[in-house]
């Protein structure tokens, strides 16, 4: 397994993002919200990088910046050596091809009026690449029958929809797969199927995985490196097993203690 050996693929340094609340007074500007306060991280090629945090920790803001869906107030993000912070959309084509996202809720991330065939092919069409047999190939890779192509998202269960979302993300043959809470909306019996599928695909395709979750035990299963976020900062980072066994930061310890487990029942 290529642990840490890979070259840096995503390098973020000093990322800051300040939002402004709507103004409540005519004379004063709206209150500033510091969603990210100088976050730096490095994701290497082939690495499985987990980001853990609670709501309001800034993990979603960080993710949006890494995917160039938002611009940082300060700081830089280099993807494969190229600066992406602040680039206009027309110059982000390479990123849209090399980095794809799977969102938490597969119902709202899949257009209900599009057939699975069109949903999965959409990234290819958007990039102007030929579709060919790619849809069937992708559906097969995520364990869905070819007949699924002609159906609509609502005809599938939550787990199957997440498979469709994964197939679509893999369509342009990305290097990096970003998964934002991909199993939080799923039933326990289906969660394992999707986590196994992600692990298989990451292995087979040699992907780099950025995995965001509020659940440290899910990240421990999936990732080798973890960054724990709290209040807009990364408070602890390192190998998952080390952080799990010996959390150094007080917040990480609180987080670990709070996660309900079945450890006592063996």
């Amino acid at each position: 397994m290529p642990t840490h050996a890979g070259t840096p693929l995503i390098e973020a340094s000093g990322l800051t993002r300040v939002y402004h609340r709507p103004r409540t007074s005519l004379t004063r500007p709206g209150e500033a919200v510091h969603a990210l306060r100088g976050v730096s991280l490095t994701v290497r090629k082939g690495e499985r990088y987990g980001i853990v945090g609670e709501s309001g920790s800034g993990k979603s803001t960080l993710l949006r910046l890494l995917c160039a869906l938002d611009r940082p107030t300060a700081g830089s993000i280099r993807f494969d050596g190229r600066e992406i912070a602040g680039l206009p959309e027309r110059r982000l084509r390479f990123l849209r091809q090399s980095l794809q996202i799977v969102f938490q809720d597969p119902m709202s991330s899949l257009d209900p009026r599009m057939r699975v065939r069109d949903l999965v092919a959409e990234p290819l069409v958007a990039l102007g690449e030929p579709v060919g047999d790619r849809v069937t190939e992708l559906l097969d890779a995520v364990g869905l029958p070819a007949s699924a192509a002609g159906r609509y998202p609502h005809q599938f269960s939550g787990g199957q929809r997440q498979r469709i979302a994964i197939a679509r993300a893999l369509a342009p043959r990305p290097e990096v797969l970003v998964a934002d809470e991909p199993v939080s909306a799923l039933d326990v019996s289906v969660r394992g199927q999707i986590l196994n599928l992600l692990a298989d695909l990451v292995d087979e395709l040699g992907l780099t995985l950025v995995f965001v979750s509020h659940d440290l035990s899910v990240v421990r299963h999936v990732c080798e490196t973890v960054a724990v976020m709290n209040d807009g900062e990364i408070v602890e980072t390192g190998a998952v097993d080390d952080v799990w066994a010996e959390p150094r930061h007080a917040y990480t310890r609180t987080l670990l203690r709070a996660v309900p487990t079945l450890e006592g029942f063996r």
Partner: protein, 306 residues
């Protein structure tokens, strides 16, 4: 305290919950676990008399000496909020955004005959025991000014306002952060008079309840003390669910249950789990009965015979 006998819920001729029976003693905390579509929420709603239009319940459910099933709404509305109360998953939709917190807590008391001024005074007192910081300030706030955890505490204060005999919680912490969830679970375990706790999360139920009912396809497939059920599951579904819930370190495969939960009305006859069960054979075409004292299971080929 609560005894449910042969509870069956149907909509348009399709049976969604079949012949569910269980009892909860005073002070007991019972978990009802199952995945989406298992019928756990319907079971709770039927006890509250809140089933949607066109969905009907039969069988009996008695709380102390009062019937809860097949009772007209005029009777149910006297019981609801006083004899039994419920905390729902989403505290934002359960609270009225246009009313101050204190008014909402007082409302549930005035509805049940407490004089207005007395209810108002008591409302502020109720916010302390659910561990809201600065209760007097929270009392004057509107729901949007509170965090998710605070809102859920307000919901709990409302539920406990009239001293109910039974508290039903339906996924009360699913929308909360883990650190807030832990505080909320500890609080619920502490203040509940008798508790029916509904969740899909096995670890959550293990930290709150003493006894557990496992539902699948509208049936209770296994029930018993948490420790017994979770260490020595008998039903193959419980076994699979427990295995899938234990996240192992990286690089190992997670055990899974094949397929997914069928849509309502499309479960196979006989044992509802047989189309996903690795141990199913022709015996399973007959519905297995829930058998066993204390730790009961409904499976033809139970695990852990030894």
């Amino acid at each position: 305290m609560l005894s449910v006998e042969g509870l069956t819920i149907a909509a348009d001729g399709v049976e969604l919950v079949h012949d569910v029976s269980f009892a909860i003693a005073p002070g007991e905390r019972v978990g009802l676990i199952g995945e989406s579509g298992s019928g756990k929420s319907l079971t709770a709603l039927s006890l509250m008399g809140l089933l949607p239009e066109g969905v009907t319940a039969s069988g009996t459910a008695r709380l102390r000496d009062r019937d809860l099933v097949g009772v007209p709404e005029s009777r149910m509305k006297d019981l609801r909020g006083s004899e039994l109360a419920m905390v729902f998953q989403e505290p934002m939709t359960a609270l009225n955004p246009l009313m101050r917190v204190s008014t909402q807590v007082a409302e549930v008391m005035t509805l049940h005959g407490v004089p207005r001024d007395k209810a108002r005074a008591r409302a502020a007192e109720l916010l302390g025991p659910v561990r809201l910081p600065r209760p007097e300030q929270v009392a004057r706030a509107y729901p949007h000014q509170l965090s998710g955890g605070q809102r859920q505490r307000v919901m709990l204060a409302i539920a406990l306002a009239n001293g109910p005999g039974l508290l039903i919680c339906d996924e009360p912490t699913t929308a909360l952060d883990v650190t807030v969830q832990k505080q909320m679970l500890d609080l619920i375990a502490e203040v509940a008079p008798a508790l029916l706790f509904i969740t899909h999360d096995l670890a959550v139920v293990a930290s709150v309840c003493e006894r557990v009912l496992v539902m699948y396809g509208g049936r209770v497939v296994e029930s018993g003390p948490i420790r017994e059920v979770f260490t020595r599951p008998r039903h193959r579904y419980t076994e699979g669910l427990l295995a899938a819930s234990r996240l192992t370190p990286r690089g190992t495969r997670l055990p899974t249950i094949a397929g997914s939960v069928p849509a309502a009305g499309t479960f196979p006859g006989g044992c509802e789990f047989r189309n996903r069960c690795p141990h199913a054979d022709t015996t399973c075409e007959q519905p297995p009965a829930l058998t066993g004292e204390g730790h009961a299971h409904a499976c033809w080929h139970p695990a852990d015979r030894g």
